[in-house]
């Protein structure tokens, strides 16, 4: 498991050339399926998750700099403009109750799967996520959870 705060800012290197491509600015997460689909490595530049060969403690390694591309659609453009940034985002249950704001995000660095949100009120399991918008993260109400919503 890695936290977003740990991987943000890591340098991004090419496995093919060993050249530095940039640094990891953002992760782009699709909700659902609650998975990292790409990472931003420079202004208007992204790399698909499948093109990453590893996320280590010191660098993110991309198969080949040829895999760096521009935003492909409106959703990616919005993501690169910061609309879907996690940190500080309001966490709202689908019942309309606020559950704090996002402090950090836990991801599985092997699969790209989102594992949990750390919110200002406590952890929330990622399988409760319903949507990520520019206004908030929507989380499914769960009566028996520590933060039911």
């Amino acid at each position: 498991m890695r936290r977003l705060s740990e991987v943000a800012g890591l340098k991004v290197l090419s496995k093919a050339s060993a050249e530095k491509i940039g640094k990891l600015d953002r992760i782009l997460v699709d909700v659902p399926p609650r998975r990292v689909v790409a990472v931003q490595v420079g202004r208007d530049e992204v790399v698909d998750w499948e093109a990453l060969s590893g996320i280590g403690h010191d660098a993110v390694v991309v198969d080949d700099e040829q895999r760096v591309r521009a935003a492909a659609d409106a959703w990616e453009e919005r993501a690169l403009s910061g609309d879907f940034d996690w940190k500080g985002k309001i966490v709202l249950s689908d019942r309309g109750n606020q559950m704090g704001t996002v402090v950090d995000v836990e991801i599985d660095e092997q699969s790209g799967e989102l594992l949990a949100l750390d919110t200002s009120e406590g952890p929330v399991d990622a399988n409760r996520l319903r949507a990520l918008g520019s206004y908030c993260v929507v989380v499914r109400y769960q009566a028996d959870a520590a933060l039911p919503g």
Partner: protein
């Protein structure tokens, strides 16, 4: 599991964002709550655009389109729930301003005036409903709480532009603070169902 925080005055919803459940986007904020007269209903909400330049929106949100009401937001399924195709509702909303339940006299079936309606109390959540009224200006109930008491909604109730008619027994279920009101609503409903004598309300119940 009822908790005091699940009860909310309808006017507290003013300023709340209207948020899409499966988008996480804020579409609008509540400008005003539109009360109906029949069956103690809420017709819906008029809306403002969000942000500094937020002015009134043409669209309205019908009560039937609300997916959930929370302490911090009004949830809808999609942006389509606000569309202009609810022209009929817009007319209802305009008409409702002239027959607002707010400020109606509250009268018991024995002809006692209990006060007048100052707000509507909602039980919020996935199936929000009107559960009672906030009553002001009551001399009969002599509230300790600055002239305002809460009165549970009877299951049968007559409303006109003139008055809100309640059974005289409702006086035994009045609460002077919102936190004790949830229990009062339950007791009152049980009483109506069983037709029995009112259960003694514990003094100082939370």
């Amino acid at each position: 599991m009822s908790s005091p925080s699940l009860l909310l005055r309808a006017t507290e919803l003013i300023g709340h964002p209207v948020v899409t459940v499966d988008g996480g986007e804020a579409l609008a904020e509540v400008k005003d709550v539109v009360y109906g007269t029949a069956e103690a209903s809420l017709l819906g909400f008029t809306l403002n655009h969000r942000g500094f330049l937020g002015g009134p929106m043409k669209q309205v949100l019908a009560w039937s389109r609300v997916a959930a009401l929370g302490r911090h937001a009004v949830m809808v399924a999609t942006a389509g729930d606000l569309e202009d195709r609810h022209d009929a509702l817009v007319e209802d909303v305009k008409g409702a301003r002239r027959r607002n339940v707010i400020a109606s006299e509250v009268m018991t079936d024995t002809g006692e005036r209990l006060g007048e309606v100052t707000d509507v109390v909602l039980h919020i959540g996935a199936a929000p409903e009107v559960v009672g009224y906030e009553i002001g200006g009551s001399e009969v109930l002599t509230p300790r709480s600055g002239g305002h008491v809460f009165i549970p909604l009877p299951e049968t109730l007559a409303v006109s532009g003139e008055a809100l008619m309640v059974p005289a027994t409702v006086r035994d279920f009045v609460s002077d603070d919102l936190s004790g009101f949830g229990a009062a609503v339950e007791r009152f409903r049980d009483h109506l169902r069983t037709g029995g004598a009112p259960a003694a309300a514990p003094e100082g119940e939370r």
